[in-house]
């Protein structure tokens, strides 16, 4: 590529002359050519799972666009009004201005319902894609050095996305979201010492008060989005600085990035993918209704409909509340201790804390201070993958428990049976998932080893002169084999006395953690083994 000359060659067309004049104008005022030089041909590796983060980013853009439209019509006020819009069944009913304006957006503004549904579907997709993106990063070990901080930022984004979802869900002040807030209020009140006051301050008095919608609104449209945008900015910046991870493949090393340049291939793919994400969300929003608040009606503390469900990402928290066994509340020193609230809060808090700090825990166990840019195949880190599977199971059981009533009614089971099964699964499920996954991973590793050394079964049966039948094994070519043999292997830590001749407790803990992680291990195939297997081929 040649750089833009400052003087126009006479051979250029008018369009080219305009482009170079415009580029020159901008560069002389912004130095933008430096950024283009640095970033324009930056390489992005390709793998389908790398698009999950992109889906999150693009759905966030869709959320911003559709949300901005909604703010022009929504009234974040709990002033009581009589609904006079065009939805007949609710005509004349008393409701808050928030609910009435939501109905107006749905029924009196062209494209309003579409935009509401685009916004809601995009929000559901936003949280879902962040979750899947996190799972991808986790199971491929892409959070290892130098990306631990970016994992933390991503984690914060996940929490903020759920906060955005919940605040937005509560804004229409309909029956369903009102009950959601009622549950939040009940949970907050169960927090020891400060709970009552936190709830009082949050709602501006007694629940539900007249302030909560406008307070959540400012969080929803300003504070949280501002933090999210800033965090996404840092997330992207670190992505550029750290460069993307890549899967092991021939020619790829820990010291290079192989893929497409931003200009033009990646830009076209990613830009096109934004439109695809936007298009698919719009397609879903124009054909499937979501959150039909007019069916629920305005918030009233007395009625509630059976089978109420929160948005999917709040499910795990709701499930945790449901799975507490009866009677977990007591009075000590004249104060009420609501362990039926405290226990779920503590357990969920621990769970997300482990998610946030897992990279640091693993780094401490391995003691590996090198940079890692080759994404692991999940099977090649059996214990990590097993921990992940246990975590996913734990989350999934909580999530399923949030639909315990629907599971009971749909499958004609007793609610008690469903709850008791979920309680048992919550404890035993992750343990079973851990061992099962670890065994499967090790089994797959053994198979990889076998294939790398002895080739794959070709399906061709040959009869030898003496009558024996064998199946011919075909050797992999070196490119295919490379994918199977290139991974990092760890061994358990040997306890050694430190400089003062002592073995510290920290070392002991680390050694036992290390043993737990790496006791069962399959070493990658070495060159010598390959040569041996060639020599002594049967």
């Amino acid at each position: 590529m040649t750089t833009t000359p400052t003087q126009d060659a006479p051979s250029k067309t008018r369009g080219q002359r305009f482009t170079s004049a415009a580029a020159n104008y901008i560069d002389e005022r912004t130095s933008i050519s430096g950024a283009v030089k640095e970033l324009g041909r930056k390489i992005f590796p390709d793998h389908w799972s790398f698009m999950l983060g992109e889906v999150a980013l693009y759905s966030f853009v869709v959320i911003l666009l559709s949300g901005t439209f909604l703010t022009f019509f929504f009234q974040a006020s709990m002033v009581e009004v009589h609904y006079e819009g065009s939805y007949a069944p609710l005509k004349g009913i008393e409701m808050s201005a928030a609910m009435a304006s939501t109905l107006d957006i749905s029924f009196d503004i062209r494209g309003g319902l579409l935009m509401r549904q685009v916004h809601h579907w995009a929000a559901l997709l936003f949280v879902a894609s962040i979750g899947l993106h996190m799972l991808r990063v986790y199971f491929t070990g892409a959070y290892r050095k130098p990306r631990e901080i970016n994992w933390l930022i991503g984690f914060v984004l996940f929490i903020l996305a759920m906060a955005e979802g919940f605040t937005g869900y509560s804004l229409p002040d309909d029956l369903l979201s009102g009950n959601g807030l009622r549950i939040i209020d009940g949970m907050v009140k169960g927090i020891p010492v400060i709970g009552t006051w936190i709830s009082y301050l949050l709602f501006g008095g007694e629940f539900p008060g007249v302030d909560i919608v406008s307070r959540l609104y400012i969080l929803h449209i300003m504070l949280l989005p501002a933090i999210i945008i800033a965090a996404i900015g840092v997330h992207m910046l670190l992505l550029i600085i750290n460069k993307h991870t890549q899967f092991a493949a021939p020619g790829r090393t820990n010291n290079n990035v192989v893929g497409s340049p931003i200009m033009p291939v990646f830009a076209a793919k990613a830009g096109g993918f934004f439109f695809i994400v936007f298009g698919v969300i719009t397609l879903i929003a124009s054909t499937f209704s979501i959150n039909p608040v007019w069916v629920y009606g305005p918030y009233d503390p007395s009625p509630v409909s059976a089978g109420t469900q929160p948005d999917w990402y709040i499910g795990f928290a709701d499930g945790a509340l449901r799975l507490v066994p009866p009677g977990w509340e007591t009075e000590w020193f004249g104060f009420t201790w609501s362990f039926n609230i405290i226990a779920p809060l503590v357990i969920l808090g621990l769970f997300i804390a482990i998610v946030a700090f897992y990279p640091f825990i693993e780094a401490w166990v391995t003691g590996d201070k090198r940079e890692h840019h080759i994404a692991d195949r999940p099977r090649n880190a059996p214990t990590r993958t097993a921990i992940g599977a246990a975590g996913v199971t734990f989350y999934a059981v909580l999530w399923a428990a949030a639909s315990s009533d629907l599971i009971a009614t749909h499958f004609k089971l007793s609610i008690e049976g469903v709850i008791h099964s979920c309680q048992a699964l919550l404890i035993f499920g992750p343990i079973i998932a851990f061992f099962l996954t670890k065994r499967v991973c090790i089994g797959l590793q053994k198979k990889d080893r076998e294939i790398a050394l002895h080739g794959y079964e070709s399906g061709r049966i040959v009869r030898l002169p003496h009558g024996e039948y064998i199946e011919v094994h075909e050797q992999l070519d070196e490119y295919e084999r490379w994918k199977l043999v290139n991974f990092t292997d760890y061994k358990p830590l040997m306890i050694r006395p430190n400089a003062e001749g002592k073995i510290t407790t920290g070392q002991r803990v680390r050694a036992s953690a290390s043993r737990w992680f790496f006791e069962d291990r399959i070493a990658p195939v070495s060159q010598k083994e390959i040569e041996q297997s060639k020599d002594g081929h049967h």
């Binding site: 062209r110 009552t196 020619g251 010291n255 192989v258 033009p264 940079e371 990092t488």
Partner: protein, 358 residues
């Protein structure tokens, strides 16, 4: 920045310069440092696409991409047309549906045309060779780090930050204290009254009639047949200043059982009337309305978290995360035969809170 490795000579080299870039050797921890690794075979030869080989296919793909962009234009125009052609007629739900559907489909076409077209262009027509870029350790170079340290040292020296400890410590102290007013300012998020007092009382007063929710018409004892249940609010609550807040505490469920089915504890003998009992409808778990009444078993089920209460045994918890029974509202009948409250609830209703027993 990036080298094209389309030619095989460069590609073979690229895979083998593994060791070159480890400027700073980092501890590998418990990782097994392989001495006998299988060597990286380098990049496989490029497999040309059909569009690389056949100019006809190339042209065909170009037309296809362009057609997709054209479809997008049509979609966007259709969306505008749908906006006009399918207006919303007040009160006509079908018009809302058509407006949403056709407007949405038009926009979808407009977006997907661009998206699929651009991705298809990049995959089939744009240069398809992978490029290689070298990574460099994230850590700054030794010179850069030395310079950064020098800047901090200079900053420290010129300001005296490390030397003048009194200055430094008082500054830190001042910074720590300075957000306090901001925290205090948030006190007035809530009114001045003590929330605990408010939480312990509801709208119910002695002699107040039980009325239907939401109409507010009073209920006679004779209105209740055996096994029936009424959603109840106190008389006059609809005209009260804080209607919803009061209702959130005062909502009651009224049921009539056979008097002999009720297990009544000491001190509550007079709280019911001829098998009619009134219980707070606000769940003692996290405050959802316990709205599902099962006529045969006389169980109340909270639809939010499935706590179950047994009306026959004074709304004791028989299943689920709630701990306490639903508080009972003592009722009686006035001279005209209407049900009235004898008093407010005798304990705080709804979810537990820290100061509940105080």
């Amino acid at each position: 920045m990036a080298d094209d490795h389309g030619d095989t000579a460069g590609s073979m080299a690229a895979g083998k310069d593994v060791a070159q870039h480890s400027a700073t050797a980092h501890d590998a921890g418990t990782a097994v440092v392989a001495t006998d690794e299988v060597p990286n075979p380098g990049f496989p030869p490029y497999r040309p696409r059909v569009t690389d080989l056949d100019p006809k296919v190339d042209q065909q793909q170009e037309r296809r991409v362009s057609a997709l962009f054209f479809v997008s234009i049509i979609g966007s125009v259709l969306a505008v047309a749908a906006y006009i052609a399918f207006p919303i007629e007040p009160g006509n739900m079908e018009s809302v549906r058509n407006n949403t559907l056709y407007l949405g489909l038009g926009i979808t076409l407009g977006l997907l045309g661009i998206g699929i077209g651009a991705v298809h262009w990049s995959k089939s027509l744009m240069e398809g060779h992978d490029l290689v870029e070298q990574r460099h350790g994230t850590r700054g170079s030794e010179e850069t780090r030395a310079k950064a340290i020098e800047i901090f040292t200079l900053g420290d020296k010129e300001s005296g930050f490390g030397r003048r400890t009194l200055l430094r410590n008082t500054l830190i102290g001042a910074l720590v204290v300075s957000p306090l007013p901001a925290i205090v300012l948030f006190r007035d998020l809530a009114p001045a009254e003590d929330p605990v007092k408010l939480l312990k009382h509801t709208f119910w007063e002695p002699g107040m009639r039980l009325t239907r929710d939401p109409s507010g018409t009073p209920i006679k004892a004779s209105d209740l047949t055996l096994g029936s249940a009424f959603q109840v609010i106190p008389e006059g609550i609809n005209d009260s200043e804080h209607r919803i807040e009061e209702k959130a505490k005062a909502a009651v469920l009224l049921v009539r059982l056979k008097p002999e089915d009720l297990e009544i504890s000491e001190g509550r003998e007079n709280w019911s009337y001829d098998g009619i009992v009134a219980y707070s409808k606000i769940c003692t778990h996290v405050g959802c309305p316990v709205a599902l009444y099962e006529q045969q078993t006389h169980h109340l089920l909270c639809p939010c978290h499935q706590s179950q209460f047994d009306i026959k045994r004074e709304a004791a918890v028989i299943f689920g995360p709630a701990k306490r029974p639903l508080p009972q509202l003592p009722i009686a009948v006035d001279s005209e035969g209407y049900l009235i409250a004898q008093s407010d609830f005798t304990e705080p209703i709804g979810p537990s809170f820290w100061e509940r027993k105080l």
